[in-house]
């Protein structure tokens, strides 16, 4: 592992990385983890060209993944469809969660998937409000994915005016004259300018007025503007003013406000900070944030252009900061390192819900008592698990590690930084996850069996070979020693049991090198 100064602090004096160290760094930061093929691909394209390709995902063929995802038919579900089938929570998002992991592990559009994951938290719409779950597959495919590397102003408009967000942040039920301010506040505080902009209660009220009128058509849950619900009172938001238009023409106010907010300097800083915290350091240097914000504004909020600038900064090229992988990153990296096969059965009937909202409401996905320890005993997964073992593995594995996908506990989404993910009890769960992957103990997921086929090689070189596969480099001395202890082997002991190799792998998947991106 590279030397670092500690918690999320980049080492200013370090020289830019080059050669294989740079290739490995780029692979760790800009994808969900190393694979042998990925390192070869980056090396042969060169880092700059490879990043440039990744910034244009539509030019990258991804047929294999798209073919596989066609089997997940609830990915195409509409809100009305899920409502009619009386499905809630994980029942609705099971396919979406499986797809997120399949894409993270297998897609050739590595950077796109990293950005989709990032935006799902920055622009959280969470299934913890049960009716929101109906809208999440649509939200993912229509709001987040098309714009994840496009213009932030387009992304913001698609997300803000999505049925998922209107439902999640109460705009759908907001009506004049007493408009609900929840969405207006989060739009400013979380999605755009942030607290640092110093917005006032009047700004919040102005944003809530611009949002008011946007609601869901009860017949099919599609987004519609209802002038009768719109609050026409004048308002201002950080230099933007309501138009004073009435009737249907007032529908033009919200897109106008969102355009204003997307281009606001405070939003530029906030997005720049977000990107820097994802790709550079938990606490990025002020100078690099400022330069990324400038690039964002100069590019008219174009995210690919902003990232192009970020990837060229010396702060990115130096590496060095300690950044702990979030649970999805960790699981994906473990599955990528082991060339795991994710089994999506071909002939799965569409699941249906078990009942109405009232009975499902009792089934807390967060803090069930101990009877939920067995994922197959968890009623939330009934109707999912028997047909799709992999769904229960993914849903349960990530929930257990504190990152229920599409189910964040509050509008700020799952946090990005390390502290949440590397507490003592979190580490125990992360170590457990590695052992489960190495032992093929997650239903529907199996590592490449050739990785653990017994050979005549001695223990030491076997650990080195597996470490190369997992980390893209030799293990640290401490990790190598630890793996041998865990296997109960000395350096030169012959390996005659595949189980010994699984133990070595279980240890390496739990090692410090695996925890960091």
């Amino acid at each position: 592992m590279r030397a670092t100064s500690g918690d999320g602090v980049a080492i200013a004096s370090q020289q830019p990385l080059s050669g294989d160290a740079l290739v490995s760094h780029v692979a760790r930061r800009a994808t969900f983890g190393l694979t042998p093929a990925l390192l070869t691909e980056i090396r042969s394209s060169g880092v700059d060209d490879w990043l440039e390709q990744q910034l244009q995902p539509s030019e990258i063929a991804d047929n294999k993944v798209e073919e596989k995802l066609r089997r997940l038919r609830d990915l195409d579900g509409t809100p009305a469809d899920f409502r009619a089938r009386k499905m809630f929570g994980n029942q609705v998002t099971a396919d979406l969660q499986v797809a997120a992991v399949v894409r993270a592990v297998e897609s050739n559009r590595h950077l796109l998937e990293v950005m989709v994951d990032l935006w799902h938290d920055h622009l959280t719409a969470s299934s913890i409000k049960e009716p929101v779950s109906w809208h999440l597959p649509l939200y993912d495919r229509a709001a987040i994915r098309p714009h994840a590397l496009g213009r932030f102003s387009d992304l913001l408009r698609a997300a803000t005016m999505s049925s998922a967000m209107l439902e999640y942040l109460d705009t759908a039920s907001s009506a004049a004259p007493k408009v609900n301010e929840n969405h207006g506040r989060e739009l400013l505080e979380l999605h755009t300018v942030g607290r640092a902009a110093g917005f006032s209660q009047a700004d919040v009220a102005g944003a809530a007025r611009a949002l008011s009128g946007w609601t869901l058509d009860p017949s099919d849950l599609s987004v519609t503007f209802d002038p009768a619900r719109h609050d026409p009172a004048p308002g201002t938001v950080l230099g933007w003013s309501t138009s004073g238009r009435s009737g249907r023409a007032a529908a033009r106010d919200l897109p106008s406000l969102l355009e204003h907010l997307a281009h606001h300097p405070s939003t530029a800083r906030r997005i720049a900070t977000l990107l820097a915290r994802r790709f550079i350091a938990d606490a990025p240097p002020e100078a690099v944030v400022a330069s990324i914000a400038e690039a964002y504004l100069a590019a008219g909020t174009d995210l690919a252009a902003t990232l192009r600038h970020l990837f060229a900064t010396s702060e990115f090229r130096r590496g060095g900061a300690v950044m702990v992988r979030r649970p999805l990153d960790l699981l994906a990296a473990q599955l990528r390192a082991t060339s795991a096969i994710l089994d999506i059965p071909n002939s799965v009937e569409r699941a249906t819900g078990q009942g109405d909202q009232s009975t499902l409401g009792t089934l807390s996905a967060f803090r069930r008592a101990t009877d939920a320890v067995d994922p197959f005993a968890d009623p939330l997964l009934r109707g999912v698990a028997p047909q799709r073992p992999i769904a229960s593995s993914i849903i349960y594995g990530l929930r257990h590690n504190g990152q229920p996908l599409f189910g964040a506990s509050n509008p700020s989404g799952h946090p990005l930084t390390g502290a949440r993910w590397s507490s003592g009890d979190a580490l125990l769960r992360r170590w457990t996850l590695g052992a489960f992957v190495a032992q093929d103990a997650l239903p529907g997921i199996a590592i490449d069996p050739t990785l653990v086929a017994a050979t005549a090689t001695a223990a030491g070189p076997s650990v080195d070979a597996l470490a190369k596969r997992c980390f893209g480099s030799s293990p640290s001395r401490a990790t190598r020693d630890g793996a041998l202890v865990a296997m109960g082997c000395a350096e030169g002991d012959p390996i005659d049991d595949p189980q010994q190799l699984r133990q070595a792998l279980a240890f390496l998947l739990a090692a410090p090198e695996m925890q960091l991106r």
Partner: protein, 406 residues
């Protein structure tokens, strides 16, 4: 070890069998010497009733003239309830708490709730846990903020513990908070138990050599596993018969941790099943059974730990109350004003906080209005029972209303 031999249950932990078989050589020899480093002798036990407790059936407003008419099949009749005062009576299933109530050690706060109005389980759970009235803030839980700001000695490994299937949202932000699914299975899962001692030693040594961002929490993990295993190893008999109820078992483990002196200052347990939309029942039935289990578990726990009850505060909360009018299924739907209960030695018991009443003009969209913010109860516990004056940091931008129980 074969693949098949790993049960799903081991996902949470894998050491139970090894502990009973005596095959584990712990990283730290179990001793009882942990007690000295706790910063406080006081322990908060937070009991979360998931699903939304119908407060109107637990602390029954029997004297409110509008109560009976709203609850044709679920009302608790005067004759069935345990009288408290002119307005309120306790549900008869709460009889196991009678002695504590008579001793004045239980405070009940009606019309309790949050300023948000989502009536959504998970959302309101998160609002209660965040302690920011629905604002996101930095995503930390109020209990974590208390543990990080409380006066006294340095933080200790197990100062905040949550039980159950997932970590408590209240403890998010405390790097030392620990989630203990159950005491019998603490540790690393997925390994053959015979390899675990070597694996734990190897992980401890490997992580000790890495960056502080990982080395520090790894040390916490290893320390906590050793401490918790010590609890399992040393004899800390519970003095009362808890029986087989899983809720009671959770409190029994909390009692074990308190007696073992591991430095625990707060424990969070959650009891589910309170979402009584259908066939809620009255003096008997579904909800009565739940209330009986709750009362029995708490009574057993307080009997078990009666020698140190002055140093224990039990707080019972739920994410919301239920609608005043019963629905067509003999149940109640999601509402607003609920009920909180505080139990402990030295608590000034009785009904605390205002009662907005059930007459139609006083209702809030058909719900009992929220007259007391849940943060007022928690702030009084934090300041008055746990001795932390930093209320502005635990509950930012909030002015608590004194309730007078602490």
């Amino acid at each position: 070890m074969t693949t098949r031999s790993i049960s799903r249950r081991r996902f949470l932990a894998g050491t139970a069998a090894a502990c009973t078989a005596g095959t584990i050589a712990p990283l730290v020899r179990p001793t009882m010497a942990f007690a000295a480093d706790g910063a406080t002798e006081h322990t908060l036990v937070l009991v979360l009733l998931e699903g939304g407790l119908d407060g109107l059936s637990a602390l029954v407003p029997a004297g409110d003239p509008d109560y009976g008419a709203q609850r044709p099949t679920t009302a608790i009749a005067d004759a069935q309830a345990i009288g408290v005062d002119a307005t309120f009576a306790l549900h008869p299933a709460l009889a196991p708490l009678n002695d504590l109530w008579a001793d004045g050690l239980i405070a009940a706060i009606p019309a309790l709730g949050t300023p948000t109005r989502s009536r959504s389980h998970f959302y309101e759970m998160a609002v209660v846990a965040g302690g920011r009235g629905g604002r996101s803030g930095d995503g930390t839980g109020w209990l974590a903020r208390h543990l990080l700001t409380r006066p006294g000695g340095p933080p200790v490994t197990l100062q905040g513990v949550s039980c159950g299937a997932a970590p408590a949202l209240e403890l998010i932000g405390d790097p030392r908070a620990f989630h203990v699914p159950d005491l019998a299975s603490v540790g690393i899962g997925g390994w053959d138990p015979t390899r675990l001692p070597a694996v734990e030693s190897a992980l401890a040594a490997t992580y000790a050599a890495t960056v502080p961002a990982l080395a520090n929490p790894a040390a916490v993990a290893v320390d906590a596993v050793a401490r918790l295993r010590a609890v399992d190893a040393v004899d800390t008999p519970s003095q009362a018969a808890y029986g087989s109820d899983p809720w009671a078992s959770q409190l029994r483990e909390v009692g074990q941790l308190i007696r073992a002196g591991v430095g625990m200052e707060a424990a969070v347990v959650s009891f589910g099943g309170w979402d009584t939309h259908k066939a809620q029942g009255g003096a008997d039935g579904q909800l009565a059974t739940l209330l009986g289990r709750l009362a029995s578990a708490i009574a057993t726990f307080t009997t078990d730990l009666q020698d140190r009850l002055d140093d224990i505060t039990i707080v019972v909360l739920s994410e919301f109350g239920r609608r005043v009018a019963e629905n067509g299924s003999g149940g109640t739907d999601h509402g607003r004003g609920g009920l909180g209960i505080v139990v402990g030695g030295g608590v000034r018991g009785g009904v605390r906080g205002p009662w907005p009443g059930l007459d139609p003009a006083s209702l809030d969209e058909g719900d009992l209005a929220v007259a007391t913010d849940v943060r007022s109860v928690l702030a009084e516990v934090v300041r008055g029972r746990l001795g932390n004056p930093a209320i502005d940091q635990v509950f930012p931008d909030f002015a608590p209303t004194p309730l007078g129980f602490a």
